[in-house]
């Protein structure tokens, strides 16, 4: 009964968000603003309906599918959109809303970011993965424990061999957790922003391209930042050029606010996933 109510409301909310996102496709003036509608409202909508479907499917299978779908949406969705945005940004034939302005942001350069950057630990990573595995199955039956140990050890070993400088994420679970909570809050806020922007007439929207200097150093940090920014209020990552990030902003009437969001996101990412800066200068990770 409760599952019915939760599932029903999730489906309604999800469909409504998708309808609003698709409406944004029609109403917003150019590709970039339409991307805001597609990446935010529609993505959150898909997550809502998938959650409803996996509640229907129940325990193990549902939880796993939900996990895979959410991971895919967060990793591949913004990545694909950023690639497309970048291509369209460089393409002279793609029309841009005439009201778009270009802004350059000056930030105090923080050369020495005081964060505890540390290397990852393979045994800890294996332990984390093992716990996630057991939690996903929700049982400690022998076959689950054995397969979990094998898979966790395998993945941890593969990371050690293939990406030796993958940052010390798993040493700082609380910073990672704070980042997650902040990120989810930002996602809700950004979806709300898109919905609010739907009220405006197309010529009232004030989009902008912001150029923001970055502090994030390693490729992992920059990648994660660009990925996350596609979900924060009003931004889609466009281009990265010499440690300057170009983001498209849906509503640039208050650029200081948006810059503050970007900087906050950046410092949370560095705090949680920050890698070894020496490694970044030595040509990035392999």
């Amino acid at each position: 009964m409760i599952a019915d109510i939760v599932g029903g409301s999730l489906v309604i909310v999800g469909s409504a968000l998708m309808a609003l996102g698709a409406f944004g496709l029609l109403r917003f003036p150019d590709v970039f603003t339409r991307m805001h509608a597609a990446t935010k409202a529609a993505t959150v909508g898909v997550i809502a309906t998938t959650t409803a479907a996996s509640i229907e499917a129940g325990a193990v299978g549902g939880a796993l599918i939900l996990l895979v779908v959410v991971a895919l949406l967060f990793l591949s969705g913004p990545l694909g959109m950023s690639l497309l945005a970048r291509a369209a940004y460089h393409d002279p034939e793609t029309p841009r809303a005439p009201s778009t302005v270009e802004l350059e942001v000056e930030l105090p350069t923080a050369e020495s970011t005081p964060t505890n950057r540390a290397r990852g630990s393979t045994p800890l990573l294996a332990l984390w993965l093992f716990l996630v595995w057991v939690a996903a199955f929700g049982s400690v039956a022998p076959n689950v424990v054995v397969s979990g140990a094998v898979v966790a050890a395998g993945i941890a070993f593969a990371f050690r061999v293939l990406a030796p400088r993958w940052p010390g994420t798993f040493r700082r679970p609380f910073a990672a957790w704070r980042f997650m909570v902040y990120f989810i809050g930002q996602m809700a806020a950004s979806t709300w922003d898109v919905i609010l922007a739907l009220r405006l007439r197309p010529d009232q929207i004030r989009p902008a391209v912001l150029e923001v200097p970055l502090r994030a150093l390693t490729r992992n940090e920059v990648t994660l930042l660009m990925n996350s920014l596609s979900f924060t209020p009003g931004t889609v990552a466009l281009e990265l050029h010499e440690h300057h990030l170009y983001v498209h902003v849906l509503d640039a009437r208050d650029p200081d606010n948006i810059v503050r969001d970007i900087v906050t996101m950046e410092s949370k990412i560095i705090a949680a996933f920050g890698g070894d800066p020496a490694a970044a200068h030595a040509g990035g990770h392999r």
């Binding site: 029903g8 998708m18 309808a19 698709a22 479907a53 895919l72 690639l83 497309l84 460089h90």
Partner: protein, 87 residues
């Protein structure tokens, strides 16, 4: 429950129509791609709705395929636009 699924179905159909209009009108390739992505997401939403409405979870895994397809097609079209620009 019937109320919830009916309302959701109507909303999804409206969303699909809006996305389709954008696919047809363009004007740029990127516009069409964004709209096609949204259309695929709406399809995934429809699948989720079907699962909730009927309780038939056979196609749950297809959700993953739909989202992966959206990503791969976006990347391909992005590369295509970049090649066109470079020429």
């Amino acid at each position: 429950m019937i109320f919830a699924t009916t309302v959701s179905g109507v909303l999804l159909v409206l969303a699909a129509f809006a996305a389709l209009i954008r696919v047809v009108r363009g004007p740029s390739v990127a516009d069409r791609m964004v709209a096609l992505d949204t259309l695929l997401f709406v399809g995934a939403g429809g699948l989720g709705l079907h699962i909730v409405a009927t309780g038939d979870t056979t196609y749950l895994a297809v959700l993953v395929v739909a989202i992966l397809t959206a990503f791969i097609s976006t990347v391909i079209v992005a590369r295509y636009i970049e090649e066109e620009t470079r020429r």
